[in-house]
């Protein structure tokens, strides 16, 4: 009785893994048969001027504190010449990375298997190991990038409302407003809110496709974070020197619009708020061990809320997103609208 049981187990153990390996081989062959390598010439897309405007960092600032002047454009690559201008090679490299990232992010159907890869080189070649339907999407995407000669206008309106007010506005935590009529209804409801909504900002950005830009409404507060004792001349005097910390609080919105086939805009955006909890707590500390002298330092707490989203919307469509923010029962509501515009229709003031 033991012998037949052992034989059955042996046969099962033998044929089980064998069948699995055959099926696995079939699957691998199917994937490899479906996936096809096509090299696309994208050199024309990599030579386009492209500057990303990075916003300031919210929260605790690195020491020494930066000046509160307007943010400067950050070249996307470190390959810049001493004069500060981005070299052609650096621009091509950064554009290749960006194109590769955009294709990998938005390709439909999504990249699911290890065999499906996309890689762009700064020489202007895009190596795409993809299924036929993915190649079809990629061709349309690249055509759209070439044909789109206009600009993209992004309008963002940020409100701070009482928590729980979204339901009164007819919005769940996020909503899509498909036209001007719905947008008008939403804004009308915001205007009728009691207590009134606080409109933080309502700027418009007119951007090149795939450009990253930001809207920042910030303030800086300074506080004494520590003290040190310095010995100065003449007389080897000891002086107490405060160390000043700086916190930047406010609102920061980052946006990167990408034109997509079919009058669609892929809108990648980040809303970030930073609030210092008030009143700021303080603590008395001794200047040095054994000393009786006490000084007061501030111990600020900072709340940072950041919401990152990517949506595919038809031109002219608005998106409402919200996030709880800061101390108290407040909520940030951001209404973002993207629309395509031509270069000729853009007034210089609007940029």
């Amino acid at each position: 009785m033991i012998f037949p049981t052992a034989l059955v187990l042996l046969v099962t153990a033998h044929f089980g893994p064998l069948n699995t390996s055959v099926e696995h081989a079939h699957t691998t062959l199917d994937v490899q048969a479906n996936v096809k390598l096509v090299i696309y010439d994208v050199a024309d897309l990599l030579t386009r001027p492209h500057v990303d405007f990075e916003g300031p960092k919210l929260g605790e600032q690195p020491h020494p504190a930066p000046t509160s002047g307007p943010a400067q454009p950050q070249p996307p690559s470190s390959e810049s010449d001493p004069s500060g201008a981005v070299s052609d090679g650096g621009r091509a490299t950064s554009n290749a990375k960006l194109l590769e990232a955009l294709v990998s992010k938005y390709i439909t159907p999504k990249l699911e298997r290890p065999a499906e890869t996309v890689a762009a080189t700064h020489h202007g070649s895009l190596f795409a190991n993809l299924r036929p339907e993915q190649h079809e999407w990629l061709r349309k995407f690249l055509d759209e990038q070439r044909q789109f000669g206009g600009l993209i206008e992004v309008e963002a309106r940020a409100f701070r409302v009482e928590r729980g007010t979204l339901q009164k506005l007819g919005v769940d935590s996020s909503s899509m407003l498909t036209g001007e009529m719905e947008r008008g209804v939403f804004l009308d409801r915001v205007a009728k809110l009691r207590p009134a909504a606080e409109e933080i900002n309502s700027p418009r950005l007119i951007m090149f496709p795939n450009q990253r830009a930001h809207i920042a409404v910030t303030t800086q507060i300074s506080y004494v974070k520590d003290y040190s004792i310095e010995v100065v001349e003449p007389g080897q005097k000891q002086v107490v020197v405060p160390k000043i910390g700086v916190i930047r609080e406010g609102l920061l919105v980052h946006v990167r619009p990408t034109p997509m086939p079919g009058d669609v805009v892929a809108l990648e955006f980040t809303c970030e708020t930073a609030d210092v909890l008030r009143p700021i707590s303080t603590q008395s500390v001794r200047l040095e061990a054994g000393s009786e002298r006490e000084v007061e330092i501030a111990l600020p707490e900072v709340d940072i809320a950041k919401l990152t989203s990517t949506v595919l919307i038809r031109a002219g469509t608005s998106v409402v997103v919200s996030l709880p923010t800061g101390p108290g029962e407040r909520e940030l509501v951001v209404l973002i609208k993207a629309s395509r515009t031509t270069s000729a229709a853009t007034s210089p003031e609007g940029k």
Partner: protein, 191 residues
Amino acid sequence: MTSHNESSHTDSGHTDSSRNEFWERVNAALDARRDPLEDARVQQLLEREPDLLDELAALQLTLSATRDVTHSASLAHAPARRRTSAFVGWAALAAGFAAIVVAARWNAPEPRDANATHPAPLALAPLFAPIPPGVLLELRATFTRTSPSGVRIEHVDLVESRSSVERRELGPQGQATLFAFAHHQPRVRQP
């Protein structure tokens, strides 16, 4: 004084007739499966009475939601005629509901205090549709609280329906004393 009363009476009558005409034309357009906003007269009446826009938007969203329900029902292999009659029935029901809501708004007393909370119409249910999953590729939130004693970071991925909490506590000299990480899935705070 008399002329003022007559004038306001005339305005009120004019408003009522405009509203009646507006809803007649909207209903006629919906019956004919046309977009009411393409009707020039509807556009004129909307310019005259902007409040009607709010009510029309509520009606259209209710109808579109009803269409989705009907479309889902059609997937259950219902006959075509039955689907059409179901659609008309749902649309009539939705239109009736919208009419009741509109009538209730007209009959509702005005708030006595200008600072009183203004009730939004259809406040019980979200009026605007949520972002459809197909177009929402990414929605993540990060909440960070920084204090001299450490950092607490909460990540919430609303598309992947997962979240995590990370804590880093610092000692008096700023040295790390604790690092904790917890992963949750799913989370209540969903879009």
